[in-house]
Amino acid sequence: MLAIRKLVKIYPGPVTALQGIDLDIPDGMFGLLGPNGAGKSTLMKILAGLLEPTAGTVLWDGEDMLRRPERIWARLGYLPQDFGFYPHLSGEAMLEYLLRLKGIVSPRGPRRLAQELLERVNLDFAAKRKVKTYSGGMRQRLGIAQAIAGNPSLLIVDEPTAGLDPEERHRFYRILTELAQDRTVVLSTHIVEDVAVLCPRFAVIHAGQLVASTTPTEARAALRGSIYEGSVTDAELPGLRERQQVTQSILVEGKRRVRIRTAGNHVPPGFEPSAPTLEDVYMVLVKTARDRDGAGREVPVLAAPREAGR
């Protein structure tokens, strides 16, 4: 388990990226959800040992990750948000290089292992091509391949499905699910669907603060009975936003389908109750946190950020 306590990161500027995160990440898949600029990548880099925090501690099974980050690198699989490869090497050669650096072995040898890993991520057809000819999605898959190699005990993946088509995304979900069965996987994303599909537990970060840490079921349960869905015109939407907490707004066959969160006695006409989705939960949390930051006052938010047993 990863135990994060009072983690602070302030960049010169000053820019406070993390404002004292307290979080426990159990074994298995854990999602980190938040908008762009929330501090997810900063947290990922600290966990991966690439960034020194300003304050705080991170223990992994009792071992201080921040003091001796080199001790976790042998057990770490890391897929950054923004990365590249040597353009002059083929995908296979690049992966083989990383396998050798990490000390990853298999009965078939590093070259064959590289080929098989590329097969797993559907890149075998381009194994011999130079990385500089790869599309963005292909590079992402190569990144996934190097991250999952070697059975890492801790897998940190930051926005892993960016650039992947739906088919590849589902392939990746299968891989991650398999991996999460006996290790810790921290998945950082702003795509709610990723968390909904993969993560039994997740946390929401906004503006460097932990807003919530819960399970999808609990999160949805907290909103049960307060989500309504209806149609409005584009002209009505701004007014609705002023009066209600709009969680989603999509155009369906020329009509604006809107989901709102409201108490039972403030339901606008034409709106029907709807089962809450994780998207609703996320939008509520983020909007509320934003309002709290703006107003500087306490506004009721979703239930307790602290975990049982801490």
Partner: protein, 1226 residues
Amino acid sequence: MSQALEALERGNLAAGTPRQNKVWTRFLRVAALDFSFQVRRPLVIILFLALVLTTWGLTTGNLSISTGDQSVGGKRAYITSEHALALTLCVLTLLYYAFFISVAAGTSISRDEEMEVLPLLHTTGLRAREYVWGKFAGVLGCFMVILLLQIVTTVLIYHLLPYADADKIRGPFAWLHYAKPALLFALPQVVFVTGITLWLGERTRRPILVFLFPVALLMVVAFFLWDWSPTWLDPRWNRVLFWLDPSGYRWLNETQLKVDRGADYYNTAPVAYDAQFLWSRVACTLAGLAAVAWSSRRFGATLRGAHPTSRRGRRGAVATAAVASTVEAAAESAPLAALAMRVVPVSFVRQAWTIAWFELRNLASSAGLYLFTPLILLQALETAYYTKSIWTTRLIVTPGGFTVLTMNTLTLCIVLLLLFYTVESFDRERATKLQPIYSSTPVRTGAFLLGKALANCFVAAVILFAAWLGCAVMLVAQQKVGMDLRPFLVVWGLVMAPTFLLWSSFVMMLMAATGNRYASYGLAAAALIATGWLQVRGKMNWVLNWDVWSAIRWSDLGFLEPNGLPLLLNRLLALGLAAFFLAITVRLLGRREFDATRVVHRLAPVELWRRTVPVLLWGIVPAALSIWLGLLVWHGFQSKPAKRHDRDYWKQNLATWKDVPQPSLAAVDLALSFEPRRSSFRSAGSYLLRNAEPAPFRQFALTLATHIDSVQWTLAGADYKPEKRSNLFVFTPPTPLAPGDTLRLGFAYSSRWPAGSTRDGGGIEEFIQPSGVVLTSFRPILAPMLGFQEEIGVEAKENRYEPRQYPDDWYKSVVPVAYGLTRPFTTRIRIEGPEEYTYNSVGTMVEERVEGGRRHVLWVSDFPVSIFNVVAGKWEVRRGAGTAIYYHPGHRYNIDEMGRGLDAARRYYSEWFHPFPWQELKLSEFANLANYAQGFATNITFSEGIGFLTISDPRNQMAFTVTAHEAAHQWWGNLVTPGKGPGGDLLSEGMSHFATLLLQQQVHGLQGRIEFAKRIEERYNDERRVDAERPLVKIDGSKEGDRTVTYDKGGWVFWMLHDLMGREANLAGLQAFIQNHKDNPDHPLLEDFVDEMRPFAPDPAAFDAFTRQWFFEVVVPEYHFEAVQREKQGERWVVTGTLRNGGSGRMPVQVAAARGERFEKQSAAQALEGPATQAPDYAESRTPLELGAGEAAPFRLECDFEPDRILADPDAQVLQLRRKYAVVRF
């Protein structure tokens, strides 16, 4: 800038069409943005500072035109003249600007690509040409600003900065002196380099190729185009090379500077630009602009994928699409566990090797290595091939010689390559964005560094291997010397490898400290500039000479002498520093981004101590080594304390003892014992002093080298303690030494030579080393010297004074000897040392025995001498007719030719000048620790680089020539020793050159003499100084250019006199001259020679006219043809024209129309049989003319053959300037 742009935009919008305005505006915006980026870069600031510092250094006149008279009151070249500024600008622009411009221009487009800005930029209305030209304009604008600032700073420094000798080297301010060179030399170079590197960067997108471009430019231009100008080069090809030189230096040097026109000319006349030069500058500028235009077209074509990258790429893309479409959507892969992956610890070495291997793969795909290896190789080969001895003869390439000759070139090129490759390698992870993944692997930082370093050292290994191959090819082509790997392993392996390790680690440290490749380039460039500055200013020493620049000499006779210990310490220091820099790099190279707010914690004493002490521990060994090395230099014979001792000698004794008469030496009895392996010796003996003066000697003085401490003296057999004045020993005999009386003075001391380490490597004139011994009576090391030695303690910049000015009738007095002692003396020299050495000295060996592993020899002079020497070595010997050559067994190449030369010299000089009075004439080889030859009586010494390793072909016979010259000193220098005064040395060196001309003609015929005469005439052309040249009778060796006048002009003048007087009369006069002066305490000067030769002249009036202009004035003709026409008239050809003497002097000269090669080509075997004969196809027709200064005369030649050329002075009988232009080819 933005306001200007807005105004421009408004104006343009009002004036032109909207589309045109937008084009112009976009271009300006790109240019302005890039300009503002470039001017703020540290690189630019470093460039400007380097230029300012260099300019300031140039105010002392260190980089100036070689002209003028450096003596006090002499005319000197202005540093502010247009010629001087042109020279400065074309050199500095290439050496400084090229590198910095390459970095700026070459990466301007690839930088945008790295930052992934290009897709954003080019989805706007920005056109490719606006973008590319805008980038070019931005960079060019930045460096034009720097150039302008450089000019302004130069004006301020040159004209306003106080300097003691300002009035001598600063002329009046003229803005055109600055503007024209800037526009014609600097600006085209800047445009050229900017354009080419921008194109290179855009085309390849590989920074390494961009950064290597200035290296290539340096090698091709500075090392080749500037320097390479062999005498045989056709003037038409020379003009082609002008066009190829973007700096303009070759044109400036060849047309304006090479043949000195005098300081007055350079100080006042503008540079005479010709149309060809101006067009070449336009072409250079246009080449840069064309490169940008080409880049712009190509960039535009590839921008939106319109340009097919390759057919293979297109096929690949189609195939990929086809494959992709067939990929099954399901592709349910087996579980990951089936791969059975696991992580095992990887050793440090294995990690390093993995990194190195993959770096090497990148290098293998890098075009830079393939491009620059042959270039560097060519440069190194050219250096070795064209290296010349002091006789301007090419040397035989030997493995050892090759390694040392090419060391500087290879070091510089490899250091620059390593800089680029190391920085780019270090930055690769960041540039490719692999950094986050890379840093999260368990690779140790040390393995990362080692792996990268190993791969980059492969660059050095490839180049060295290529150079070795080149040497092998040269050796095979040369067919003289076999391959020997040991010098390569020693010099390139043990000596150079630590340099590369040190430099690589230094660059890595810079990258780790700055995290910025451009800052690293700038700091590394600053380090190189600082190193170069120390070298140029003569302030380098063993501690700082990290690149061992010019510090070692190779000798086949001895191993890296005399610098073994300091070299070893220097190399250990380099390795220690490399380790220290690596430790710092590991400390600074954070895999993890440091938190800025924790910096304060890190600076806390305890934390600082904890972080720095482990690193500082690595510095202990290099610190200790540098102290040891420093002490070694401090206690050496070239150190400041040693110089201070010498200066104390000078200060204490100059006023009292300079030119004070001393007793003469009647006999020298010396017992020497040598230990070459320890560089030590013992000298014991006695001098029999005689008073040959009319007055008694109450006191006399002897000098010993200032490092010799403990000496035992005796006087008349009794112990004596003289007054010691900084190693001038003053003797006051109990009874003054009366005229005619003798007194025996004894001495004994032990010493070492060299005494301690050199300051910065290099060679040494006299030595005791395992390779052998060379000691002479010219220095107070072998034995004490009589009197005060005024050259000891004199340093060029500190206290050198100009030589005495003698009255015109000085020669009429009793002139003392120029060197050695006024009256010859007898010698009895006993030598003992290890038996494997042979010990030679002056005179005849009368005894030799070997006892107990020691050899004992006794040399006794069979005819008095005035100087003596001792030389020892492990030799073989070739004996001839009264001659012997002692040589290193591996240097047989020229022995036969040298033997022929020595035999011929002994025979013919004895016939022509005076019978050789000694029994045997010996010539001994010594190690290449110095580069000279000395003609002591019966015991000539030659450095191995002279004669023994000279490239000698049947045409020039250079080994024969140098032997003939040195042998001539037995007569001209020993039998007749010149007097101390102006013109004296010509009777030694000039006469020896003359004797060589005679001997060449005797043995090798007309061709041999002509070749030698042209060679020394060419050297005179190159090295003379118009303003400093004085008449022969005034030459005293104190001015620049005196050497070539003494040797080359002197030899020519004596030859022309011989030609004028006729052979018999001339030789009769020379014989009488020698007879008169060989035992005469009145030593001759040149006026004596003229006076004594005159009675033998068949035509005294002609003799007077000749000697007046050639001995007492400074003249030299320069012939060229005008209006030459060749036409067929019936069966005959008629050539008409005018010959003009553009120089000075009046001499008869022949004009010849000729056809075909004059002499038959000879093989080496044919050359042994006799001189080259006239080729059967050769034909000529001649007519004599006589022209004075500025005169011209028409000529008409009728030939019964079709002439292919017309030339002046076909037999090389008149010394002249620019002989190769006194030929017209049809």
